[in-house]
Symmetry: C2
Subunit: 561 residues, 2 copies
Amino acid sequence: MTTVVAVETPRAIASEWLRRFGEALERHDPERAADLFIAEGWWRDLLAFTWDLRTFHGAKAIGAGLGRTLATAAPRDFQLEQGKEPALTGSDASRTVEALYRFETNLARGRGFLRLVPAEDGSWKAWTLLTAMEELKGHEEHLGARRPKGVAHGEQRGRRNWLDQRVHETALIIEKNDRIGDNWRTRYHSLVLHDPVWYDHLPYLPFPSHWPVFTPKDKLAAWFESYAAALELNVWTKTTFAGGEYDEATGRWTVRVRRADAGNGGTPRILHPRHIVLATGMSGVPNMPLIPDANQFEGAIEHSSAHKGGQPVTGKHAIVVGCCNSGHDIAQSLYEQGADVTMVQRSSTYVMTSANGIKVLFAGTYEEGGPPVDDADLIFASIPYPLLAVFHRQATTAIAELDQELLRGLEKAGFKLDYGDDGSGIFLKYLRRGGGYYIDVGCASLIAEGKITIKQGVEIERFTPKGVVYTDGSTQPADVVVLATGFKNMRESARALLGDRVADRCSPVWGLDEEGELRTMWRRSGQPGLWFMGGNLHQCRHYSKFLALQIKGIEEGLLEA
Amino acid sequence: MTTVVAVETPRAIASEWLRRFGEALERHDPERAADLFIAEGWWRDLLAFTWDLRTFHGAKAIGAGLGRTLATAAPRDFQLEQGKEPALTGSDASRTVEALYRFETNLARGRGFLRLVPAEDGSWKAWTLLTAMEELKGHEEHLGARRPKGVAHGEQRGRRNWLDQRVHETALIIEKNDRIGDNWRTRYHSLVLHDPVWYDHLPYLPFPSHWPVFTPKDKLAAWFESYAAALELNVWTKTTFAGGEYDEATGRWTVRVRRADAGNGGTPRILHPRHIVLATGMSGVPNMPLIPDANQFEGAIEHSSAHKGGQPVTGKHAIVVGCCNSGHDIAQSLYEQGADVTMVQRSSTYVMTSANGIKVLFAGTYEEGGPPVDDADLIFASIPYPLLAVFHRQATTAIAELDQELLRGLEKAGFKLDYGDDGSGIFLKYLRRGGGYYIDVGCASLIAEGKITIKQGVEIERFTPKGVVYTDGSTQPADVVVLATGFKNMRESARALLGDRVADRCSPVWGLDEEGELRTMWRRSGQPGLWFMGGNLHQCRHYSKFLALQIKGIEEGLLEA
C-alpha cells in the first residue's frame, strides 16, 4: 500500500490560472485578466485576438490590448492541451510553470503557451502568454480525420480520375528558374545550411529521420522539388513576373507574367489575383556597391549570390568583401581550392561556432529528441523578441565563453568582433538588420591561423587593372573580387516587380517595430493584397500559416481587406 | 490525502512475464520458457532468434524452437518498451494483457509484442509472442541521433560538395520504364488503391496528413518519384534486365542490363552484384489464357494490366473475364464510360464493401489516430497467419452481416460468392493464392442492379469475328474483351529474367507453408543471392527491412550466404 499526498502540481497551477483567465475574459473584464500577469508580464498574440502579430508588455498594455479585442474575439474554453504535461522549470526564485494549452474565439481555434511565476502575494501569475490562431472554424484544413477520400466510391457516369480533376487551383506559384530549387542549386558550390535540421522542417512534411543535420544546397533543392510534387503545389517554372497594378475598386491585381512554355520569348499571360505574396527572399536584390574603375579591372567581380566556386584556383589572388555567412563560406572555399584569400571587413561581425551556438541556443526546443516541431514553434514564439534579447544576452555570453580561444585568435588576427547592439548576439542581429554574423563552420580558424588574411576597417576605394586600392591607401593584387555585401530590403524587391507607387505604400520590411514585432513580414504591408513572405526556414514554416489565415480571413469576409 | 492500493496492473503482469521469460532464456532452459506459454500458444520470430521468418505453434514446438536457437542467439534484456503502456483488453475469460517490449541478442536489438492470458493455475501465460529483429549491433541505420552531419566543418583542402560525393552506392535499382512510377501511371484510368492510407505508408517517409484515404494511381506514381529523390535512391530508369548467371565460387552474379542512356539500342552494361532482389511485383507476368480463334476477333483483346480505359465507349459491347479487384474496377469504368458490360465469373469471389471491410479489419491498428505505423506493424505481425484465419472467420462473418443486402443482391444477379476455404475472408485468400476477392467500391451494386451482367460458371471457348462463344454454347457480341485473369507466380518472373536453371532452384513463391509463413517471400529463395520482394504496400513496408537485414547479415559475415 502506498500513500500519496496531494501537492500543488504544475498541472493544477496552470489549470487554475487558465480557469481564472478564461473566467475574466468571459466576463469581459480585461483589468481582472491583466491582474493575472506580473507587472512586467508579456502577451504575444498571433492573430487570435488581434488579427495581427502583436506584443503587449506590462499589465497595463495587456489590459488595454485585451479591452480592445475581447468583444469581437470572445475568447473562451481555455484548456490545458491533452497529452502535454505542464512542466516546472527553474528552482526557488526562478521557478516557472510552463504549459501548452488550447482555446477558442468566435472565429477560430487557438493554441498557446504559458509561463507562470510565483508572485509576491503567493499566487502564480503569468510572465509570458502566447495566443496563436490555429484554424478558422468552418475552414479547417483537410488534415487527418478531415483528409479527402481520394475517390468517389459508387456509380459515377463519365467518371474522371484524379489527374483529370486537378484543375481548381486557388494558388499559383510563379518561379523564374527552370526547376524548383534552382535558386539553391545555382548558389556557391560549398553552400550548406548553417541551421540544423530540427529547425528547418517544412510544414506538413517534416524531413525524414535520416536527413543530415546540415542540408547541402543541392539536397535542399531536390527536397523542394519533391515537396512541391507531394503537396501538389501549382507551380509555373520558367515564368517571369513582368509587372502589375492593383485596382482598389475590384480589390484585384492585374499581373503580367511571361511563361516560357512556347517560342523564344515565352507566352505572355495576364492574371487577376486578389493577393500577391512576395516570396522572393530576404536575400532577393543584391546590394552591389558601386566601386570606381571596376571596368579597368582585368579579373572577375562577382556578387556573392552569383559566385559559383568549387573549382581549383591555385595561386590566384582572391578578395572577399563582407564578413557574414556567405563571405566566410566563399572565402573558406576559395582557400580550400588553393587561392590566396583576403577578407575585407568593413565594420564588425558577431561570430559563434556552429557547435556551441546550436548547443546553447536550441537546447530544449530544436534538437534531436526535442518536442514536436509544432510545439517547439509555439514555445519559441512565446518569448517576445524584446524578452528574447534578454535571454540571448546570457546565452551569447555563454557561447562566447565556450568559443573564447577562437574569438581571441580572431581578434589577434585583426578581426573586429561584436555581440550585437545590446550583447544579445545572433538572432536579434538577424531580426534587427537581417545579418551581421557568421556561424563558424571552419573559416574563423583559418583567419585566426593566418591562412586567410583580414583587412579591417577599410573599403575598396577603386579598382586597378590588376587589383584594388583600399581607402587606407594600401593596394593589393587580385584575380577575383567577391562582393558578399548583402541584399537590399525586400521593399526593393516590391519596387523592382511592382513599381514605386506600390513600394512606397509599403511599410519598411524587416527590422523590429516599437513593440518588438518584425515589420511588415507575414502581416499587412500597407498595400492591400500584397504580402511579404521570407526569412529562414523556421520562420517560413511557422509564419506561413498566419499569412495564409489572414488571406483566408479576408476571402471569407471575416476580416477587412 | 489520497490512498492508493497496489493492484496487479497490466504493466506489472507483462513486466513479470518478461522477467521470467528472460530468466529462463538466460539459463538456457527452453522447457521452462515454453512453460510460460499456454499449451496452444504461438511464437512468431522475424529473424531475431532464427534468422528466418518462422511460426511455432504449441508449447512443445516453441520449446524445441527455442532449444535450437538459444545458444547462438543468446536473447536477453527483455524490457517493456518505454512510453508504451501495456493494455488490458477483453473481459472475464477473454482478458488479455498486450505489451510492446524490447530485447537484445548477441547480434541484434529486437522489438516484440506479447499477448498474455490467464492460465488455469492462476498465472498469466503467453498466448502469442512476436520476436522481431530491429537492427544489427554495430550496423545500425543512420537515423535520428545517428543521422549524418551533412558536411565536414573545418578546413578541408580541395573540398567536394554533397553532389560531388554521391558516388559510393551499394544498391542499384533497375527500372524498365521511362520514369519512376510509370508501372502505376500506365495502368487503367480509374485505378485507385483499395487499401487505405494508414495501411500504405512507405518506410522512413510516411504520407503527410493531408494524403487521401485512397491513393489514385497517378498520385502514387508521383509519390514514388518524390520518395526516390528524397531518399536518394540510386535508380537507373529506361533500363532492361537482359539476363544473368550466378557464380557459386565467387558468390556473385554476372548480370546484363541495357541502359537507354545513349543511341537506339541503349548501352549494354555488365554488373556483378552479390544479391538480386526481384521486386517485379506479385503482379508481374500476366496470366493470359490462350483462347482459340483470337486472331479472327475484330475487336480488341487486352490483359487487364494493359487496359487503359477512361475514354467514352458509348454503345460498345465489353466483356471482362475475371471477377477480382481489377476485373470489377475495369468493368465499372467501362460501364461508367457508356459500354454495355458483361463480366465472366469462372469460379467464385469473396466480396466485401470497402467501408465495412476497413471498419472491421483495421480497427485498432491501421486507422486515423491509430498507433504509430511501426507499432501497428508489430501488432499485426504478432498474429501468426493460422491464428489470423481464426480471427478473420469471425471478422468475415461480421462484415458479411453488414454487407448482407448487397451480397443478397449479387447472388440474385447470378454472382457466385465465397468466403475463402475456411470462411476467413480476404486476407487469407490473398496470402494463400494472391487474390480471389473484390473490395467493393461500387461495381457490386452495378451487378446487383443488373447494370452489369454476370455470366457465371463459364469460360470463353473461342472467339468469333464479332464476339465470343462460351463453354455453355451461348454466344455474345463483343467489341472489347478484357482478360482480368491475374498474374503468374513470381517464380515465373525469375524464369523470364534469369532462366529455368535459376527458377527451378527457387522454392514456390507465395502461399503459406506448413507453419503458416509465406513461402519464399523476403527470405531464402533456394537460389543463393536471389530474393523475392513484393506484396501490398503494407507488406513491402514491414518486410523490406527483414530482407535487408538478411542481406546485411550475409555481407557482414553474421549469417551464411
